[in-house]
Amino acid sequence: MSSPPLLRGTPPPAPSTADRPVGPSEGVSRGAEDLSEVTTRIREHIVTMCASPEGGHLGGSMSLVEILAVLYFRVLRHDPGFPGLPERDVLLLSKGHGGIGLFATLCEAGYFPASELDGYARPGSHFTAHPHPGIPGVEMPSGSLGHGLAVGTGHALAHRLERSDRRCFVVMGDGELQEGSVWEAASVASAQRLGRLTAIVDRNGLQISGATEAVGALEPLADRWRAFGWRVLEADGHDTGALTEALSLAPDPHRPTVLIAHTVKGKGVAPIEGQARSHYARLGRRQQLALLKALRADAEARR
């Protein structure tokens, strides 16, 4: 068919060169500096958002902190000044209830000033509890669970068509894996051999009504992913060194990778660590100040 080009708009970018314009990616030397100051500040933002009039998803955001910090400060190729950078790696937070963890991390990474987080959940603010692309740095809307891996599959297919070395990371909750659509996408990504797609499971073991193993058992989780054709990595999800190492491994060209990150729900807030009731919290002013003080004291103790 010899018709003129039908479709408006810019064509997909040309195959990417191996240049790495900004941010680290695999094979590049990583900042050796400690991330603990960054993770402390992220946790402080989370506590403060949970002390807003609407409260917030405390436990599942706290368990994510090191995962997101390592991604944005050590692994992802990205540019906070240009969120649409064509060469960027793509991060999808499929567990949308980790939204305030993502917002806090994006803020620390430089996507927007901390003052914007003051609007969280207040009338008229873009900062809703669950993320959407109206917020700088957010790639997709999430909150209904079980959507991210399919969308990530699409990004990875596009990257492959472009012969690009971009990577796509999809962060999921463990309870989220009870959604059938996750396994539908897991099959497709494996059948398509999407080696540059990485799923990360925030394995904190808890969901709203209790332990995942009591509500909708997931174990043997690593075997399950292996059976679906994925390369499986496991790490302590609060050990930034171990996370950096796992997420910096060269992709397996023949199969996607899942990192099961073993975490603690509510990590960093001693009274609620490892408790399902930390899922959502409305903190009073006194609680907020006490938690901020404790987080700062912990950070000082680690110095």
Partner: protein, 338 residues
């Protein structure tokens, strides 16, 4: 899904097959397939995502081969993957059946595609009762309702095979999400003379002064045209409008055609609730003191075998029903049918 594969024209090379002569029944689904097969090699942004329907079996995409991806029986994942591809600058065409696109995968369509206003064309075949003997699991009589309520979604129902090729090109160039509703088998060509087909614009197939018949879908349009003939024999003069674009609905054309008439009869291959007739009623109710009578599928599943036309006629989506409804409406609202 295996049923679809069994009915697909395996081994054919449709893009090089000669066009059927004018006036012959043709399948809009096959014309859509041939149009896509022709566009794919040259249009770099196009990516076809298939769900093991078998529709493209044997098609040679030539230089576009790597942009045809059969992802398997996974409709939710197809919609999500389409969103990811669209966010990367591609224009995905999701090929599946209407029943699975509009119900099974609806949440992915809503959140992953419509919320982002992404340029994804959902090619939904086997719509209405066109799957006939395949039974109620493969009928889609709810899809216009579920799709047209989604913000940013364009909803198109080509009236015949020839319009399908034209509307498909326009829909792909629209830059946003499109639900493109197709049948399964061949349907008759609409009469010539309606002028060019343009996305979002109603076609006026016949001018009349007493009543307006507004139709959507191949057989409903034919039923409306035939009903207009029946009414003409009674001395009733009817407009016939073809609204192939359900959203955005061409309300200005409807209002213009209506003039000071008081009655609209809508005809569609969809459950009466929430479909094309409902869309017309919603648009007109605040603007004109008119009655809208909906000829549509009754509030029931269709658990019997039969061809598309037979099932429609048995359910009352027919020229006779349209003409009867028109006579009744004119009799009550205007005191007689002259």
């Amino acid at each position: 899904m295996t049923t679809a594969a069994a009915t697909a024209p395996a081994g054919t090379r449709p893009s090089t097959r000669p066009a059927a002569p004018a006036g012959t029944d043709r399948s809009a689904r096959e014309v859509y397939r041939d149009t896509i097969a022709g566009l794919l090699p040259a249009e770099d942004r196009l990516v076809v995502l298939d769900s093991d329907t078998g529709l493209f079996s044997g098609v040679d995409f030539r230089g576009g081969r790597e942009r045809y991806l059969n992802l398997g029986i996974a409709e939710h994942t197809l919609m999500g993957a389409a969103a990811g591809l669209a966010r990367e600058g591609r224009i995905p065409v999701v090929n599946t059946m209407a029943a699975f696109a509009a119900s099974r995968a609806l949440e992915a369509v809503k959140l992953d595609i419509a919320l982002g206003g992404l340029p994804v064309l959902i090619a939904a075949t086997h719509s209405g009762v066109s799957a006939g003997h395949l039974g109620p699991t493969h009928h889609a009589l709810e899809d216009l309702a579920s799709m047209r309520v989604l913000p940013r979604m364009t909803v198109v129902v080509p009236g015949d095979a020839a319009q399908t090729a034209e509307l498909l090109r326009q829909a792909l160039a629209s830059g946003g999400p499109v639900y493109f509703r197709l049948g399964r088998g061949a349907t008759p060509a609409l009469p010539a003379g309606a002028g060019p087909v343009r996305l979002g614009e109603a076609q006026i197939l016949r001018r009349g002064t007493d009543i307006t018949l507004a139709a959507c879908g191949p057989y409903p349009v034919l039923a409306a045209l035939e009903a207009a003939e029946l009414l003409a024999a009674d001395g009733v003069s009817a407009n016939v409008l073809h609204l192939h674009t359900v959203k955005p609905l061409d309300t200005p054309a409807l209002l213009e055609a209506l003039g000071d008439q008081r009655t609209v009869i809508t005809v569609e291959e969809h459950w009466a609730a929430g479909g094309f007739g409902s869309a017309v009623a919603e648009e007109l109710s605040a603007r004109r003191p008119v009655q809208v009578h909906r000829i549509a599928m009754p509030d029931a599943f269709v658990p019997v075998a039969g061809g598309q036309r037979l099932l429609l006629e048995r359910a009352g989506v027919s020229a006779r029903s349209v003409a009867e409804s028109a006579r009744r409406a004119l009799g009550t609202s205007q005191g007689g049918t002259r």
